[in-house]
């Protein structure tokens, strides 16, 4: 079978061998403090449903979605609500959070028994997904029930499961595919049942052949689901690159995937859809890859949402030394954090700790116009020129060169031989233009 891909992209050292063979290990800390943010998704933060002093159980809804684009929040532990206070997240923003003193017992809510899956209507399924607080767990955190409710459900041709996991070091999706290929397929079937004309695609990069083999076996009898092999290249898992590679359809920033008949879901999101609809379990934990050269025992852990990152790393994988840099997410698009006392959220796909920071020591030199950034850019724009326009605040030139098409994948900064912070410059300009438009 042919290997699918897109034009552009880079090949960073992948570092996945540290954790690719480490099975997912469930981490349930004993008595400790949990901070469950009410805003872990794109859109309005949820409103707290509990009060200080109240006892909560695992899976209990503690935050109610407060708008169309918003998501419910559930407790991942049992214990007593200690406070409702702002807490810092990986991106540095302070978000209202429910602080829970856990009792370490993980007492769960009584199980809800509802209609059988076969009897559920489309609306009921969407309601279950909404109720469970499922959001996109790649990195965006877009509420899944909104994504699954496009304007014209009949015009959706493909539901694509993003198993590319093109970020170096990350193996959480790979482990999910290896350990629960059946659930991925079942979850996809639930998503497909919402659309009359949709076919399913599970797209996986060719550095995960074992997962491809397993999934192919699973879908052998499914007529509507196909496993597609992608060429291993960053950012293959970017939404636009992925849609192009699997369906040859193209879209720019003015379009949503649904406008070209596609809906893309992350592996862990599909897993959570299955949990929500079949098991009636809300999203209260996720797989986190903890790795990097400053980590003693790299691995993949199933982590309750709200646990402190510092505690998580010390309890499970330990630091070998004081790291110089810690990243929440992958090395290409993740956020470097300056404080490890932040909670794990629905979007924390990995925690990377490095002994040495590659980036801060490098001094950028003049652009030599080599054009490497242009040839790797998946959006086919001119990154070095955009960075220049951004550095001199030339908005007009920035828009002329289609700067808003940047997907912020970081390929240009990665490849730049003059070590310029191209992505950073472009992001800055984009942010300021978007802020102006909102006014």
């Amino acid at each position: 079978m042919s290997v699918l891909t897109f034009k552009g992209g880079v090949h960073p050292a992948d570092g996945k061998k540290l954790t690719r063979n480490k099975a997912i290990d469930e981490y349930l800390p004993e008595k400790c403090e949990f901070a469950i943010p009410l805003g872990q998704h794109i859109g309005a933060p949820a409103t707290a449903l509990v009060e200080v002093g109240e006892r909560v159980l695992v899976n209990q809804k503690i935050g109610e979605a407060s708008g169309f684009i918003s998501a419910n929040i559930h407790s991942s532990v049992s214990g007593v609500v200690k406070a409702i206070a702002p807490r810092k997240l990986a991106n540095g923003n302070k978000v209202m959070s429910v602080i829970i003193d856990s009792d370490g017992e993980y007492k769960t809510m009584p199980e809800i028994i509802g209609n059988k899956y076969e009897d559920l209507s489309r609306e009921e399924k969407l309601e279950l997904i909404k109720e469970a607080g499922v959001v996109g767990m790649g990195c965006a955190g877009f509420p899944t029930h909104v994504k699954l409710s496009p304007k014209n459900p009949d015009e959706i041709d493909y539901v694509i499961v993003n198993g590319a996991e093109c970020e170096p070091y990350l193996t959480s999706d790979y482990r999910r595919m290896m350990e629960h290929p059946d659930i991925i397929v079942e979850g996809l079937k639930i998503a497909l049942s919402l659309f009359k004309n949709a076919k399913g695609i599970i797209a996986v990069e060719d550095n995960k052949l074992e997962a491809i083999v397993k999934l192919k076996k699973m879908v052998a009898k499914e007529n509507d689901i196909e496993v597609k092999t992608l060429f291993t290249k960053y950012p293959q898992g970017g939404e636009r690159s992925l849609i192009f590679a699997t369906t040859k359809r193209t879209l720019d920033s003015s379009k949503l995937p649904e406008d070209v008949g596609c809906i893309v879901h992350n592996i862990d999101t599909i897993y959570s859809i299955y949990n929500a609809v079949i098991q009636r379990k809300p999203l209260v934990n996720r797989v986190v890859t903890i790795t990097g050269d400053a980590i003693k025992y790299p691995g993949n852990y199933l982590v309750p949402i709200g646990v402190d990152i510092d505690k998580l790393v010390r309890d499970t994988s330990e630091f070998t030394c004081e790291p110089e840099k810690i990243i929440s997410g992958g090395p290409m698009m993740g956020i470097s954090i300056y404080d490890t006392h932040i909670p794990v959220t629905k979007c924390t796909s990995a925690i990377l700790a490095f002994k040495k920071d590659e980036v801060s020591h490098i001094e950028p030199s003049n652009c030599i116009n080599c054009g490497r950034c242009v040839s790797v850019c998946p959006s086919r724009i001119l990154p070095s020129r955009l960075a220049k326009a951004s550095d001199v605040c030339d908005e007009e030139q920035f828009l002329e060169l289609s700067g808003m098409e940047c997907v912020e994948c970081g390929s240009c900064s990665y490849i730049c031989p003059a070590k310029r912070q191209i992505t950073q410059s472009i992001k800055t300009m984009k942010k300021s233009i978007l802020a102006k438009r909102r006014k």
């Binding site: 080599c370 098409e405 390929s411 992505t423």
Partner: protein
């Protein structure tokens, strides 16, 4: 966590290639041509190579010292400029003239415009043209085997014939680095294989030039005549090593093709109709001046989008 953590914008990893490794690769690619030049023309060629490299590096060092800028000689770009300049000089040029060329290339063409990445003309070629205009008699007369003889291109224009084998190997008169097509091609293949240079510029350049010669040359549609034109003069050196200079070539993919077309046409015009038999250097520095214009008309269409930014009205 007592220690302070480093923070920076994404991405947090970088490719190993840097400006200096790229320049080192260009130097490696020029070694076959340089060695052949020394073998072909004798030890004075080696002195010239050393003199231009030293004068380029020293001028850059001193200029940055005097103007209190960051020292950039470690990026090796001055070495590349010096080496390329030497390869474009006749083998019996007095050393002092070569040194003046090196100083001109670095100080006037490169540093006065802001140093690496800011010059709008290829420094080595601009210096060569400066020397041709200043010391014409020394720059355009080529001695070979102690005889002042004509270059293969001159013979080609006068007799319509060239000794192809000698031209391919490089056993002819000419500048130090331009004569041996085979040595230059070895270096070019190295650069293409390591993806240091893009194939678009040299390939369109040579293809368009070939078509021009086939049609407008003294012997239309004569393949032997065409081969002599391709192997003669500075075409190979220019197409693979000078026209591909990052700083002075367009950054847009389509722009590179337009650039190659302009180069091919201009070189053809200069060689066939010009007063000199050689046209590569002037064609390249002239086209360098067209680069901003070429880039302006070849801005690529973004992925999945329309050419013009629709956001303009929205703002």
């Amino acid at each position: 966590m007592s220690e302070l953590l480093n923070v920076s914008s994404n991405p947090h990893v970088r490719d190993k290639e840097s400006t200096s490794t790229i320049m080192a690769d260009v130097i490696i690619a020029l070694i076959p041509a340089s060695i052949f030049g020394i073998y072909n023309f004798g030890i004075h060629a080696a002195y010239l190579i050393l003199a231009t490299i030293l004068s380029c590096v020293l001028s850059e060092y001193l200029f940055e010292k005097v103007t209190r800028q960051k020292n950039t000689i470690r990026d090796l770009s001055a070495v590349v400029t010096g080496l390329l300049l030497a390869l474009n000089l006749p083998s019996d040029l007095p050393i002092w003239m070569a040194v003046i060329g090196g100083i001109f290339a670095i100080i006037i063409v490169k540093q006065l415009f802001g140093g690496i990445g800011q010059n709008f003309m290829n420094p080595a070629l601009a210096a060569r043209c400066f020397l041709v205009l200043s010391f014409g008699s020394r720059m355009t007369v080529f001695t070979y085997d102690a005889i002042t003889g004509a270059t293969p291109l001159k013979l080609l224009r006068e007799t319509g014939e060239g000794d192809l084998i000698h031209m391919f190997l490089g056993i002819t008169a000419g500048t130090i680095g331009e004569t041996s097509v085979i040595a230059l091609l070895v270096g070019a293949i190295y650069l293409l294989a390591k993806k240091i240079i893009d194939f678009r510029i040299p390939f369109t350049y040579i293809a368009v030039f070939a078509v021009f010669i086939l049609i407008f040359g003294d012997k239309p549609f004569d393949l032997e005549y065409l081969a002599a034109h391709l192997c003669g003069g500075g075409l190979m050196l220019g197409a693979f090593f000078m026209a591909t200079d990052y700083v002075t070539a367009p950054i847009t993919p389509r722009g590179k093709i337009v650039f190659g077309v302009c180069l091919g046409l201009l070189t053809g015009v200069f060689r066939i109709y010009g007063p000199n038999t050689e046209g590569v250097s002037f064609a390249i520095i002239f086209c360098n001046l067209l680069v901003p214009l070429i880039e302006k008309i070849t801005i690529p269409k973004p992925f999945g989008g329309k050419k013009k930014s629709r956001h303009k009205e929205a703002l």
